[in-house]
Symmetry: C2
Subunit: 205 residues, 2 copies
């Protein structure tokens, strides 16, 4: 891959390098995120993506039959994943650390693109992107918050009935609300305040 | 007012009744809410409102120079007010009762129209409508929630540091989040769950 990129760089304005399979796919998905960043959902075209990826429109359509399919895939592949729950020995530290990671996912380039697309697209497409937020961010982070609370219960820090769907909604609800109403961008300090003034008092024994 | 309405009803297709000052203003604002309900923000015209209020366009423009001004006023005047905090002797009952009242404001005809307009209008108009939600709903309800918590502190039910801007954001945050993510319409039972499983554990001593 390094070779083919170097070759391309050595041929400014020349023919595109021959790439196949995963390498070409990554280039197309990368170009899709770039297009979303520069022209948004409404401005994005399959042709523009093909140009950005130095390939032909057919190579894009062969893999993704529609603009929705292409964008869903670019966002799904591009969104950073949330793998393990932090385990730093206290529920306060684990909640804080996990919130930072979720914030970083939502403020990554694909995270921004996902939210922008949701505002811009029509209702049918919105449903697929909404699902992407749920399966790509909400559900994985809920699993990890659950793991953090369960460890807190084992340590005797957290009340046993705190693993509760409503309690698990509080952090994402605060994130959405304060972004919309106050334009919050979730600096570390504000995250610490939500943990210390809301979540810890809410779940402690 | 009853007289002039009866007169109008008795003259189907006839000339509009002569109304002045507050009576005519109310008719125009009422017609504005009706138009928002039937054709939305983008479909609403000063002409359509004038027809609905059985008056001339000039009578509308004389009072409200733009569509934004007219709609802001119709929503401001139309939104039910939140006057007093409930005082039923327990923080749980007072929080529950107050949530029901806030829900009823947001689900009133002007409350629905306000939210629909926010989704439909452009960014400049959105700022004014957003401010209307803050001054018409968020701020008054925050004042009443504060009063409820203070009474709980006096009774010894609520911890003294629970009157906290972040704590006061939890209920509106949950309302917004669960509406958007789960399509919740805030039935009484769900409100009771948020009070019993989130707010009471969060504020109790």
């Amino acid at each position: 891959m390094v070779t083919s990129r170097s070759t391309a760089a050595a041929r400014p304005g020349g023919a595109s390098p021959r790439r196949r399979g995963p390498v070409l796919e990554r280039a197309i998905l990368e170009a899709t995120l770039d297009q979303l960043g520069s022209v948004g959902w409404n401005g994005l075209t399959m042709e523009g993506v093909a140009v950005g990826a130095q390939t032909g429109k057919a190579a894009v359509y062969r893999r993704w039959p529609s603009k929705e399919d292409l964008v869903v895939e670019a966002l799904r592949v591009g969104l950073p994943t949330l793998d393990d729950a932090p385990d730093r020995g206290s529920v306060r530290e684990d909640l804080y650390e996990l919130c930072l990671r979720v914030r970083d996912v939502m403020y990554s380039k694909p995270g921004f693109a996902l939210r922008a697309v949701l505002h811009e697209c029509d209702a049918d497409a919105a449903e697929r992107f909404h699902e992407l937020i749920v399966t790509g961010v909400v559900e994985p982070s809920t699993r990890l918050f659950t793991a953090v609370l369960r460890r807190g219960i084992t340590r005797g820090e957290v009340r046993p009935d705190a693993v509760d769907g409503l309690v698990l909604d509080v952090i994402p609800a605060m994130m959405m609300y304060r972004s919309k109403v106050y334009g919050s961008e979730w600096q570390d300090e504000e995250i610490a305040d939500v943990i210390d003034r809301i979540m810890v008092p809410l779940v402690r024994v």
